[in-house]
């Protein structure tokens, strides 16, 4: 029998277990960050910067805040949570999840976008020009799901505030999260969409048509909290860093502004 067949079984087993063992070693210095989808690019940049200086593995999970909140409430192994609105953080609190070191981290603005090659000209929503007038009869307005996606909730609030909600309610395309909503605009499946300013900046396939006045909706605040009842040292130090100037300067490159302190 050729010698290859005589490799001892335990050696083979060891080869397979090495990556597993290595991963186990990794677990001790891993921090799971659950963040709203709208933070994807900004957060990735921040994490990259932090990891270059610190010996730690930051694992981000991006989805709509509603989805993430539900997962955390069901026991997902998150260490930190950044929601795109207060509502979902409050909801988590009500679900008897231990929140610690909660702080309002960032602020965002709501914008109306169109595909990059669109011929629609800039205007400010709530003024003389209505969004409905810019929308062809058979086309739709892309927003996040208005019943639970934060960007959608803000969009609904803003539309109600400028008096366009009843006209547009039946003409919406509801995305699962704000990035999905933006993807529809990128592909020109919908000629217009409502997303965060940070999202609009992140994509070169859409352009800003106008910013919704701050008065048309509640402030879009991103609260940050530690959700792990027994946070590791790495978690706590990352949490501290996130609220610091270094992090904020990186994040503001992507269009976020520091939260206005109450």
């Amino acid at each position: 029998m050729p010698s290859a067949h005589r490799i001892p079984l335990y050696l083979l087993a060891a080869v397979f277990f090495i990556p597993v063992a290595a991963h186990a070693v990794d677990l001790r210095t891993q921090v799971q960050v659950y963040a709203a989808a709208s933070m994807t690019d900004a957060m990735n940049a921040a994490i990259q910067s932090y990891e270059s200086d610190h010996d730690v593995d930051i694992v981000p999970v991006y989805a709509s805040s509603s989805t993430l909140a539900r997962q955390i409430a069901s026991g997902a192994p998150a260490d930190l949570f950044i929601s795109a609105n207060e509502q979902w953080m409050d909801w988590l609190d009500g679900q008897h999840v231990t929140l610690s070191q909660r702080v309002d981290l960032l602020q965002n603005r709501l914008v109306l976008i169109a595909p990059a090659q669109s011929e629609i000209r800039k205007f400010t929503p709530g003024g003389d020009i209505t969004i409905a007038s810019q929308l062809d009869d058979d086309r739709r307005l892309s927003v996040g799901e208005t019943s639970h996606v934060p960007a959608g909730i803000y969009a609904k609030e803003a539309l109600q505030s400028i008096g366009e909600w009843s006209a547009l309610e039946s003409r919406l395309a509801n995305g699962d999260n704000v990035r999905a909503a933006m993807a529809l605009v990128e592909r020109d499946e919908t000629p217009l969409g409502i997303v965060y300013e940070t999202d609009a900046k992140a994509s070169d396939r859409v352009k800003e048509i106008g910013v919704f006045p701050d008065s048309s909706h509640d402030p879009i605040t991103y609260p940050l909290a530690v959700v792990n009842p027994q946070p590791s040292e790495a978690t706590q130090s990352f949490r501290q860093w996130l609220a610091g100037d270094n992090a904020l300067s990186i994040l503001s490159c992507y269009g976020f502004t520091p939260a206005v302190s109450d």
Partner: protein, 237 residues
């Protein structure tokens, strides 16, 4: 009070009828192509047969969201097929129930073809040859021998496809989006309710509803197949 508890709300009715309409259309448009492809694979050898077989099974093995995305690329308003559709007919599939029917049909297609192919292969080609010697041309053989003998399998495949289309989620939500009254089928409605806080009870109701509908379709298929088998044995000229 009990009546109010179990009576369906308007929104629920809408989701049910929409689901049935979409799943029904999905099966409707894939039935003939499905039978044709199954017949091709069952009875013919040709170059590229393995390739066709592989392509056919893609929706079975790809994540439904990926399939939905591929549909968007091809049939979206700017897709390579979709723009022709829009320019020619002024119609775009995303956000419409027809689009949801397309998504459901694509996901159900491999299941239909598999079932129909199996039942066609089970038809003894010697019987077809015998029919030929009795003067039946290829079409007559197909309609009087092959298809009737394959009907139980055909029915099973159809109901399977219907059930699959009914429960389709990932491809539908990606391609057709989640529009109430247009594409918000039972699975999508259930999903939305789950996400929304305070709607757990409504979600549970829809869940029970989905199970009931699935059970009804499964039992209907069983009854139909049994009747067809009995009918087969009683056909006369």
């Amino acid at each position: 009070m009990l009546f109010e508890a179990i009576a369906l709300s308007d929104a629920e009715w809408q989701a049910i009828t929409l689901s049935l309409k979409i799943a029904g259309s999905a099966v409707g448009w894939i039935l003939l192509p499905g039978i044709a492809v199954a017949w091709l694979l069952a009875r013919h050898e040709f170059r590229g047969k393995a390739l066709l077989d592989g392509l056919l099974h893609l929706p079975l093995v790809l994540p439904p969201v990926v399939v939905g995305y591929l549909l968007l690329l091809s049939l979206g308003r700017n897709g390579w097929l979709g723009q022709w559709l829009y320019q020619g007919f002024g119609f775009s599939l995303p956000f419409t129930w027809q689009g949801a029917a397309v998504a459901g049909g694509v996901m159900a297609f491999p299941l239909l073809v598999r079932a129909v192919r199996l039942s066609l292969e089970a038809v003894d080609p010697k019987l077809e040859a015998a029919a030929g010697t009795l003067g039946a041309n290829r079409w007559r053989v197909l309609f009087t021998i092959t298809l009737p003998l394959a009907i139980p399998g055909l029915l099973t495949g159809t109901v399977l496809a219907f059930a699959r289309a009914l429960s389709e989620f990932g491809a539908t939500i990606t391609f057709a989006s989640n529009i109430p009254g247009e594409t918000r089928t039972l699975p999508l409605a259930l999903y939305t309710l789950i996400q929304t806080p305070g709607k757990e009870a409504a979600a549970a109701r829809l869940c029970v509803l989905s199970i009931v509908i699935a059970m009804i379709s499964l039992m209907a298929s069983e009854w139909l197949a049994r009747r067809a088998r009995k009918r087969l044995e009683e056909r006369d000229r």
